[in-house]
């Protein structure tokens, strides 16, 4: 198969057609040989057997002729014809014999040893011929010697039978040849049939082979073509285009190169589309609204961000006027016209208007884009949202003003110094403290404004080296000569890059605080004296108080414990009450339900009673009906019995009629006998007797029919009697059952009446129960409310007790403190 696939197409054609051609040749050869065979057989029939039959027939004719010749000779002798005539006849005879011998010889030549039966028959025939010839010769010899009578006798006695047998044998030969003929004909026919069959079979096989070859050939060409078509149509590269599928022929090679081409093209297309998709994704992923505009200012394409920024769908955006989406459409129009004229525009401020009315400040960067030929196609514009940036700037400005104000508002002299010790900035308090204007201060040496400039210089250098200095004491000198003692707190400040920019220093005026400190020391000494005296008195009092408090604490703790217990108890009681009340509610609910159920039961029991009464009535009617049926059945039974009796009496009558008929028959026979005795006079009577006999026969027949009918009637009547018997029995049992049913229904009705009464009582008592349960429910609710109130007040009491206890404790602690 694989070899066939890889063959060249011309080779496939040559192979297939040569196969078909060789097969056809075989068919033709076989047909010719078969036809020859048939022809041979037919020829044999035509030639050999027909000749044989002819010869045999000839022999028969000659035999007959010889026999006739002999007879003629005899007759001639009888008629005393001339000797000349007789000799002529003898000559004829020998002529005929000769002819016979010729035929026999010919036939012998034709019937060879291969056909033993034919040979035998022929041999026998010739033998008979010889014997006949001998007798005939004898006859002729006798005739010639004038012994005619003797000759005649010999001829009839001996020669004729032999002639008959001879002719018979020869006839057998003819028949045998005819049989052979028929046999050959049958063989020829069979051969023809076989040949026809063989030819048909071969022809059929040839057709099959041709079809198969045509199919395979077509498939081997169309399959690869189909694969190629699929490849082109679907571009499915997963298709098997290997040599197995397409074969190694011209088509296979063509398809493989074809598929290679297509796969390369597909790969190229895929790459390109991937690139385009990447570019598109980049555009879509941009957080800036991007848009392309044509020369008339219409939007050609937008990204998702633009859709979001404008609040308009992409479909609506494309084709609409670019300028329409801004608060100042004219400015926007000028903007993109500028792009077309200059090729590029940067940071072009515009305000984008959202469809919901909100606006967005944007800066537009736009440039023209060109096609491959270098012609301007449109403008690509990218907006940047600057709303946040603007806000940030505002905030920053506000915060810096605020910081400045804070600094200015500070009561401490604040100052910033650079690395050289020059003042960079000051606040108003510094101006006040130094008495020098701000302009003079800025740029002057920081150390110049202190009584000890060196110490000040060391101070700020310390800040630069350590990063921070706290409570550095210095004395500030005012321009009017007065001094202020200050403590300096200073730290370096850095720019955004983390480089030290300078020192920020804050001074605190401590002149006043120093003076107050001195006064305070004086006061403290006095107070200590007084406290010592008081303490002595107090400790005495405290002892007493402590004792009292101890008692108070212990009793209050006891109160607390008791109250806690009570509160717990009350809470538990409240819980129990609420549980009880919920239980009572459930009971109430269930008692209501049971009351409802009891009512339903009473109602249904009432209905049952009604049904039972109806049932009783129906049963009574049934019993009445049954009684009527029984009466009817009784009368039917009587009628049937009567019918049976009457049919039996009919049987009796029939028997007697039969008897009469029989006797009439006998009488008729006797009458006939009598008539026969009477002879001629009794003839009329015999007829009458015959008539009577016939009548008797008829009446017998009729009685037989009647008996048959009667038998049927009796059978049916018997069945009817049985049926009536069964029917009356069934009615009896039905009656009994309906009486029982009536009894059962009556008892049931009684018991259901009792059930109704009981149900009514149940309803009444359950209603009372419901009322009682309602009352219990109300009471339980009251109890519950009271319990809840008690619990609340107990909680309050507990709280008070607790606070009392805490108070005692606190007092105790305080007292202990005092004592300590």
């Amino acid at each position: 198969m694989k070899m066939f696939r890889n063959m060249k197409i011309w080779l496939r054609f040559v192979l297939s057609f040569s196969l078909i051609l060789s097969f056809t040749i075989v068919i033709i050869m076989v047909s010719i040989s078969k036809l020859n065979d048939i022809n041979d057989k037919v020829t044999r029939i035509m030639v050999v057997y027909n000749v044989r039959i002819n010869l045999s027939n000839n022999m028969i004719d000659r035999a007959r002729e010889t026999a006739i010749d002999v007879r003629n000779i005899l007759l001639a002798k009888y008629e005393k014809q001339s000797a000349e005539n007789i000799h002529k006849m003898i000559a004829d005879l020998s002529e005929h014999r000769k002819s016979y011998q010729e035929s026999a010889t010919n036939l012998k030549a034709l019937i060879t040893q291969e056909d033993p039966k034919g040979f035998d028959i022929l041999g026998e025939a010739i033998a008979y011929a010889d014997s006949v010839h001998q007798y005939q010769d004898k006859v002729i010899g006798l005739v010639l010697t004038d012994k005619v009578d003797e000759g005649t006798r010999l001829m009839f006695g001996q020669a004729y039978p032999r002639v008959k047998r001879w002719i018979k044998k020869t006839d057998d030969l003819v028949h045998y040849n005819e049989e052979c003929n028929a046999l050959r004909f049958t063989e020829a026919k069979e051969a023809q049939a076989t040949a026809l069959k063989t030819m048909l079979m071969l022809g059929f096989m040839a057709i099959l082979l041709s079809v198969a070859i045509a199919y395979f050939l077509t498939m081997s060409i169309t399959n690869p073509l189909k694969v190629a078509t699929n490849l082109v149509l679907t571009r499915d590269l997963s298709l098997d285009i290997s040599a197995y599928q397409t074969g190694g022929g011209e088509l296979g090679v063509m398809i493989q190169s074809f598929s290679k081409n297509i796969s390369e093209r597909v790969k190229l297309e895929e790459e390109m589309s991937a690139k385009a998709l990447y570019a598109r994704n980049l555009i879509e992923a941009s957080l800036d609204p991007l848009v392309t505009i044509d020369a008339e200012g219409k939007i050609m394409d937008v990204n998702q961000t633009t859709v979001k920024a404008t609040g308009v769908s992409k479909v609506q955006l494309i084709g609409s006027d670019f300028a329409d989406y801004f608060t100042e459409p004219d400015k926007a129009r000028i903007g993109y016209q500028q792009v077309f004229s200059q090729g590029i525009v940067r940071d072009y401020p515009l305000t984008l208007r959202h469809s919901n009315g909100s606006t967005m400040d944007v800066l537009y960067n736009a440039s023209v884009y060109k096609n491959e030929a270098g012609e301007v196609q449109g403008v690509f514009a990218a907006a940047r949202d600057i709303t946040d940036r603007k806000k940030l700037q505002e905030e920053m400005r506000a915060s810096s003003i605020y910081a400045r104000n804070l600094i200015e508002a500070s009561l401490d002299p604040l100052v910033t110094i650079n690395a050289d010790g020059k003042i960079m900035d000051v606040n108003k308090t510094t101006i006040k403290a130094t008495g020098v204007s701000k302009e003079q201060l800025i740029g002057s040496d920081f150390a110049d404004y202190f009584t000890e400039p060196d110490k000040a210089r060391i101070g700020y250098k310390l800040v630069f080296s350590q990063g921070i200095v706290k409570d550095y004491p210095l004395t500030l000198r005012h321009s009017d000569g007065s001094t202020i003692d200050v403590l300096y707190n200073a730290s370096v400040y850095k720019n955004e890059a983390g480089d030290v920019q300078g020192v920020f220093a804050a001074a605190r005026d401590i002149t006043e605080s120093k003076r107050q400190e001195k006064e305070l020391i004086t006061y403290r000494d006095q107070l200590e004296e007084m406290v010592k005296q008081r303490t002595a008195e107090l400790s005495k009092v405290l002892e007493e108080v402590k004792e009292t408090i101890n008692i108070l604490v212990s009793s209050s703790s006891e109160i607390l414990a008791a109250t806690t217990q009570v509160a717990t108890g009350t809470a538990e009681t409240a819980t129990a009450i609420s549980e009880t009340s919920s239980t009572v509610e459930e009971v109430q609910q269930s008692s209501k339900q049971s009351s409802q159920k009891a009512k339903n039961v009473a109602d249904s029991a009432q209905r049952v009673v009604q049904v039972f009464q109806n049932g009783q009535k129906a049963v009574e009617e049934t019993i009445n009906g049954m009684n009527k049926i029984r009466e009817q059945m009784d009368s039917i039974a009587q009628t049937v019995v009567r019918l049976s009796e009457q049919s039996q009496s009919i049987g009796g009558i029939i028997a007697s009629v039969t008897d009469i008929a029989d006797q009439s028959n006998l009488l008729a026979v006797n009458a006939a006998i009598e008539a026969a005795k009477a002879g001629e006079q009794g003839k009329g009577f015999a007829v009458v007797a015959q008539e009577i006999k016939n009548l008797a026969g008829q009446s017998k027949q009729a009685t037989l029919q009647v008996r048959n009918i009667l038998n049927d009637i009796q059978k049916v009547t018997g069945a009817a009697v049985m049926a009536t018997e069964q029917g009356s029995k069934a009615v009896e049992s039905g009656l009994k059952q309906s009486v029982q049913a009536g009894e059962a229904i009556r008892i049931l009705a009684e018991s259901s009446n009792e059930a109704v009464q009981a149900a009514t009582q149940i309803v009444a008592s359950s209603q009372q129960q419901v009322v009682g349960m309602d009352q219990i429910g109300v009471a339980m609710q009251n109890i519950n409310q009271a319990g809840t109130e008690t619990a609340v007040s107990m909680v309050q009491a507990e709280k008070s007790a607790k606070s009392l206890y805490e108070l005692g404790q606190k007092l105790k602690t305080m007292i202990e403190k005092f004592q300590g």
């Binding site: 029989d662 006797q663 008729a668 026979v669 006998i673």
Partner: protein, 173 residues
Amino acid sequence: MKTENRVLLKKRAVEMAKEPELKTEGSEYIGIIAFTLSEENYGIETDFVREVYHIKEFTALPGVPSYILGVINVRGKILEVIDLKKLFNLPEKGIGELNKVIILHNDQMEFGILADVVHGTQIVAVKDIRAVPYTVSGIGEEYLMGVTKERLIILSAENLLTDKSIIVNEEVI
């Protein structure tokens, strides 16, 4: 009158009309009474038949051969009855209600023979009666006259009447 009946009557009339053949010239024809014995049809010459009698009761006789059924009373005359079935070894059917007795007689003898069914009188040409074939089994050849084309076996009443072997003359000691 119904057509059927008319046809029937016509048929009968035709049958009756073609009697000329039945001229009883000399002994060319004999009248017989046809009867049935065990499904076989028999005939007996009318000349020897006195009458056909319906057997109502009979008296069995002791000490007689089995083919003698017994004696009957026919209008005051006591006659013996022979059961030919026994005599001819035919299968027994029993005496039913329809059993008849054909009373035969000649100058010396008078007795009855039992028949199952008596069909009536017929006239048979003597030339139609053929010799009895050997196949008729069990029947004493001496009692048979011959068989007709219709397989009606004609009994020879004369032979029956004159047969001495039927006469019972046994002495009981």
